[in-house]
Symmetry: D4
Subunit: 253 residues, 8 copies
């Protein structure tokens, strides 16, 4: 068989334009493909929710790739060990209750799980704004290509509709800030100083629908709540992603 | 259990310093974690070879994340379909012989396979130079942190020993160029114009040990040979990675 | 009628994805939407040729917007006055044989004519490479989004097929240089010093098929031929665009 | 006839210096050559108003070139269809009430119309400040070359007088902000979140003289009013430009 | 003896990983290796305190290298002459009470003294945050590699525990600002205008524990207190470093 | 009298457009307003030659402002003392034969002299190319605004005619390089190492018409000749400018 | 006579170090060498005041070089004509009361006059801070090399004493802002919109000692007072410089 | 005693200008203050040679600060242990023949020794060129402030005379390259690939006077000779610095 460049081009354009037209209207839009966003997307998709993951960067994984100070290992505590098991991420025990995994493997396995479950990834895509109408609810996201923004070009965005948006953008809590900035009744407090124990303990409580249609998870949840900062420990992140998925699943039923 | 920041720090430092001390002397050092490098690393590790993957960027996956022109889909031809199956990457048929997969899933599954098989990843790590002594063989790599180079700082590198180095750095063929530049009998021709069919057909032949201790794979193999350019079709890349792994495995026996 | 954001998004995606899938295989690909490229594209399309214009920048018009030293006027000589008339560009006589037009109007009218005649514009699109197979002919172009290149991202390109490519990229003669660089029998001499009279007189002779499938026009034609440089006089540019269109039309018959 | 470089130079300098000296005192100065500015300028000029268009960039067209997310199509709703017809912009119906046009054609046709009607364009020209004297009215604009600002050079501006200034600078509402910043009784609220239907419905009401001598149009009008954001739909923009032209025409009589 | 690259690498990794694991829990963490930080660290270490010096830059010495306006001389007044003697820094008398030393020698001798006394230096290391738990005390520092920050990469930090942190970061008073920003009862006033005599006289009084666990010294002490600015006179800096060391030593007993 | 902004604008535009139209055809175009260019322009104008000075930067004076290593003093030797006197530049004797002047005064007096004598300055103007026709003579210069180039914009230049061009662009010898690059029989050797005595002695001999219509002066003369480098001594520069003026004056008679 | 590089170096170092040591204590420090600063410095020096001019840039002249929009002409009104005459700046009458001069000549003549009168220029020198002691008076300036700041280096400044400082830094009013920022009872209002007539009329009244030891002049005077903006008309600037010189002269007696 | 800012300024200016005037003529100018330059300077000065060290950066120490890959430890082999002892640098044995020292201490102690012995440091100073006259010997260096170059400013340099220049600029061998570039009979081969054992063994032989008046040392010596690369082992560097000092000392006698 002779390979033809134009057929390759058509295959890609044809498949992806179908996906794009289909995903302009989804159940859940997860913004940010770091640890909590990936867990949330994977678990939502495993439960049959139509989920799109919008990631600003070219690569998926967020701040997990670099471990701690470029030593590519992450730590997970006892409470979240079952999620390592759920996603088949290998680990070794350092001390009782402290499990060490490879950061690269953690990203790979979470992304693989989300793909297997049917989540669609839209990388190099930036959320520029939110859709809020007179029902005072986040009912869509205004998106653009990241390189357009990086290159400082003036190009209009497009819009997708979603029943729930998930802010998994980390300590910047970008989506929550947009809602606040556009007059939504949301206050973003910003992270407090480091205190891993407390931050991990509180994160599940902070994972909630802070504005109709907008759920915060992971570091974004703690940042909105003014919670203390965590270190390179990811149990709370995973559990927060799980919690966000549960909240949305219940609401969508 | 109270979580303690210092224990988390110790867990990461302790685990990774053990790994680093262990991996200063390895069987195969794969430079570049794009499609051919990942396939090569995964298959080597599956066969019990001690393999380290050195990736310049923070994230693993190279040029595969963006699909074609940011439409995150890749195409694989019939000949390489068995490797999609081997690594559990889902696909759909576009036309006979043209299979379309998600670019994100492809990266995730290849990385996951390499981790499962025991490969170690050293991301944010740049190869600055090669070790060549009077046996005229690449017997090690001179490495540094990528951010040190990005920040333009003057910091000395360290050295690791390897029985084989794999140049999977894409069309720049960085390691091959270093050897050429330091007087090795290697010529890097650079890619020719696009002609997918021929490029895919020839890549396996170009995958070879171009200098004692240095195997080229993927786009680097084609670039060294002055071969035509491929498009966003990845079958040849996967097969070239597989071929590189075979060559090394046989030599190491 | 209530306006719906998602319908607007669908309208744009749906229309443009149809156009993109259609235009992966065209008669003539004009690279560069400056004066000669626009004239060539307009005249080709007026004659029923399926033509796509690939422009690196966000805006169409190239170097014509700024007139001379930001004084937005251009000069056209007697020989090309009929093309000003053809495209309804207003002008005044300065001295006998020297006609002055508004640079903004010149761009607008040429672009409008090309659109009316049915040419399709692909702006923010960069030509990364050419397709040359064993027939030693430019038979396609390898394209990517310009912002991807501006942002320094690693994303694979796509490919379109064309029966003729037109290098209208100005004095850089980018496509001709790519062919030369990839081993085509093409030499790009570069412009000589300014000598408007001679440069204008010779440009039509230099407008030709310099490599099978590749026609050069405008400043690119002069640059390939090592011809003298023109000033802010555009008659020769327009006539060269016309000449390029004629050459291709005849060949395509 | 021998072409002479110096005559070409004289032709451009001579013509443009006459225009510049003439246009230091005009009826209407439209700041920003995006969709609403172009419609406003074209319709004013069609009605015999002496109008100058001041555009910061080298090219005319503003944010319309890129369509939505670089897919170069724009959408116009039923209410504004007659303006597409007025300016001879071709379109196709996507769904009832949603018409799709080429973004490149829209820019070209609007610019061409403005030129035909006699508007003068001053591109690469930045508005640095406004003239407000003791009549508390915007009676002129302080302008400079854009490249001077881009290059960070310290060069004094010049001043033009105008009976009306039109702020068509998009969501930044640059002229309105200057007036506010210099103590004018103007408040610029900034855009709200996306809600296309409402934004399109309200824009005509927001198009008004917000300070003596200063009319806002297009996105600037909505931004001043704190209105919701539109998407890549341009009907409201065109109608707002028309409305601004009407307001000024009536006042100037 | 044959030198072996891998042994060299192992020697460095092995020694430094031991030091890093040891220094995750220390008595005093001096942030900033300028004059006051170096004096403080040297005197603490001379008294048997386990002290780590965290310096953002690659080199140690801070603002002392350049003397005044790149003339590499510093001035020290009578009161601090004994510290020049203590650290064997040579000087000449300019006028009575004004002693001039070489800036390079001052840095070298202070660093040498700190090393001799057993202080450990962590250069290219940035303090990103502080650890504050419910005892409302700075009990640790959150650190990262400086090049990671310079390169704009997203990599998680690690944490070290310390009984005292010393803010010797100069007039930015970075650590004090972090505590203030995270809700600690600390106000950073910023430096006043230059008045050397007063600033030198007051600095010892401003050297104090401004928040439990956090001592400020040198310019940071004056900046926190809103004190006047000093010139290129270093006596107060040295005396402030000495005072900070005394305060900590007494508390640690 | 009431001051009117528009009259101020008209005064500037009107005066300068007359000058620009007049100076598109001149006797001598001096490129570069450093010491040798200023001396040359002043002396030419004093002798009734119509001279335009084209300076790339906003300010006139070139490398003379900074003296040596930012100490704003220059040295002039005995041979050139009479030119200091001619231009009323004050000086003091350091040793016999070495006179020291203020660098700021030197620039001011030379510029003032050139203005008094009737030279016109075109600052912020870059020479992009030369005009060479079949008489193989530099008969004009292709110029553009410097900020256009600094901002990386694509704007066409304009052309002026001149009977002589003077390359006073310093050790880059920019105009000479352009002629060489466009095929003129000119070789630019580049400066040799520093040897002030020889460089000063030879510069007058190197000041000559190196190509019909092009005279080199100052550091450009030495650079073309491959001569040794001078230090911050300006006698030779002044004498070279004087020599260039003589050569041209004689030819123009 | 043989020229010797080392003697040239010694001549420059020796002369300038004498000047620097002498000028650490002066009567008047004029900050900014634009039109008002130059007039002020020249007139002070003509009256025997020991004056140093501190200019941030390499060249003297500030914003006057570029005329209006790079057309190098300035306008001066009737009231200030006598100052043109005083400084021998040539001019032509445009309309009654509007005189046009060359911007280059204006800079050159003002600088020459200041040098002739004995003012010393310190270019490439930045004012970093002011000296204010318990007499609540600006009694000195804290200076550094500009390139040190441009290069982002950490080098300490030096200090000079002055009986009066003149803020001639233009509309930024840098010195006034420093005093305000360090707690001085000074408010900097910022310029209002353009209104040349009023701004020119009021500037002399705004030229005053706004804080003990600190006189404002030129645009800085208007900016402090919240006055309207002038255009490229320089009469007020010159008169303000003259007024500042008078104020200081009287106080110093 | 009251401290006075102006006295502090005078003290610095006065001392350093004496040093600068004295050091315009020296015995040995060591360019580069890395390990080999520091050893060479210290040993020369210990033997009574008048030596100036010219360092481009603000800080002294070159590439030694960062150890290997930011782990601040260096390795020294048996042969050079006596130099660690000579300079009182502490170390521990890792394996037989491999000694590990703190990189910070190594810099500090070498700098301190050079200061104690009487070497003068000129930091932030760049060598721009060399002095070579008809005796074909490097007899001086042309220097400038580094920030001037970093800021891209056009300021003339000054010159110092020296009997010997030492190129200790590392693998760039900057001074040797300048001589080669200006026509000296010197070839700079560039480093070969890493091979620590050989590179360390050969470095002393490569340390020599490669051109009259120019001695190369450290990595510069190996780079000139095309020698293999060393790793983060510093014995050869120290020994090469010692050898360079010996060569010069003998010649100067």
């Amino acid at each position: 068989m002779k390979l033809d460049e134009v057929t390759i081009t058509r295959a890609i354009l044809s498949e992806q334009s179908k996906v794009m037209l289909d995903y302009v209207d989804i159940d859940a839009a997860v913004v940010g493909a770091g640890p909590s966003g990936l867990v949330c997307a994977a678990l939502l998709a495993e439960n049959g929710v139509k989920v799109g993951v919008i990631e600003k960067k070219l690569s998926i994984g967020g701040g997990m790739w670099g471990g701690g100070m470029m030593f590519p290992r992450i730590v997970v505590q006892e409470e979240a060990r079952r999620l390592l098991d759920h996603f088949s991420i290998a680990y070794t025990a350092f001390e009782e209750g402290y499990y060490v995994a490879k950061s690269v493997e953690a990203v790979a396995k979470l992304s693989a799980a989300a793909c297997d479950a049917g989540a669609e990834f839209f990388n190099l895509t930036t959320v520029e704004d939110v859709v809020i109408k007179d029902d005072r609810r986040v009912s869509g996201l205004v998106i653009n290509w990241t390189p357009v923004e990086m290159a400082g070009l003036h190009v209009d965005p497009l819009t997708i509709a979603c029943r729930y948006a998930v802010d998994a953008t980390g300590h910047d809590a970008m989506v929550a800030r947009m809602v606040a900035c556009k007059g939504g009744e949301v206050a973003v407090s910003g992270e407090g100083p480091m205190w891993a124990d407390r931050a991990e303990a509180m994160i599940i409580g902070h994972t909630r629908e802070i504005f109709p249609g907008l759920v915060v998870t992971g570091m974004a949840a703690n940042a909105v709540a003014g919670e203390h900062r965590m270190g390179p420990i990811f149990g709370g992140m995973f559990l927060s992603g799980e919690r966000a998925a549960e909240l949305i699943r219940k609401s969508l039923r």
